[in-house]
Subunit: 164 residues, 2 copies
């Protein structure tokens, strides 16, 4: 049996513990009221219920996409494949706003921008939201799901501080 050790600072321990929680990598996309597009890489996305079809995302209130989603209540969750690490990096890195759409097969002329060749696109409408700490949790009804018909399911996975 292995020894479990509890460290003194829960914040540090939490990061160490959470490094072990594998998750698929998503890019959340939305537009603000001036139709300016925003995109942000996220791993805090999870399904809620299938009655009604719903998911939730946790977004830092400092992120620029936060105001867009708060105002419009609409966003897409684009689920990345193993080949789309560059999109994940672009949407979590230095570029902001429209610059994030320079990498990847984005359709930016749709009502909401979405990736045309990722593993799945969920088009969502916020129904409830709740603030906790630095983040806002958006619980959203899934209005539409698009999946490529010919894709092999090879997701981009984030684990232990890197891609898998």
């Amino acid at each position: 049996m292995q020894t479990l050790e509890v460290g003194p600072a829960v914040e540090v321990d939490m990061r160490e513990g959470m490094r072990r929680l594998a998750s698929g990598v998503c890019v959340i996309s939305s537009v603000d009221q001036q139709q300016q597009p925003f995109a942000m890489t996220a791993t805090s996305v999870t399904s809620v219920s299938d009655t009604p079809p719903s998911l939730l995302v946790c977004v830092n209130k400092q992120a620029s996409i936060h105001s867009a989603i708060s105002a419009s209540g609409r966003f897409c969750v684009n689920l990345l494949s193993r080949q789309q690490e560059d999109i994940s990096n672009r949407c979590s890195g230095g570029e902001e706003g429209i610059g994030r759409f320079a990498v990847g097969n984005w359709n930016t002329s749709a009502e909401l921008p979405y990736l045309q060749d990722c593993l799945a696109v969920f088009t969502c409408k916020t129904e409830q939201q709740m603030d906790y700490g630095t983040h806002r949790i958006f619980i959203a009804r899934i209005e539409k799901v698009a999946v490529p018909t010919d894709a092999i399911i090879e997701p981009l996975i984030y684990l232990n501080g890197g891609y898998r």
Copy 2:
């Protein structure tokens, strides 16, 4: 560029889309007010914020652990390793209540039951909760994190309807 197809029934499409969202497998454990232990396999677990350290879990209101967590506000999230598929199956299958603790190195004499040799144990206290559809979302402060010091990080991952 691949063709995206949108099917007629969002419920069906949602399941197909969500099969592609990889996630680490957790077992949530708690006790009711009579100190009876409950455990349930869950993939809808995600970190919320590190200020304060927090996570959320989505629990079906029909699940027996739901009343225990709702009443006590306390639970553990046990993050499974690749070797713990049997625990995942046990805690999502036919056995209920105490029968679920027959597989795995559980400590059931602690205040909350927890797995002594999984990838990480987060001890949590509910701070906010919200109902949506069939599920309740518990947003909880992480009070304690335990990680084995000698574990290789090989999580059990659920994807496309099976383990990876």
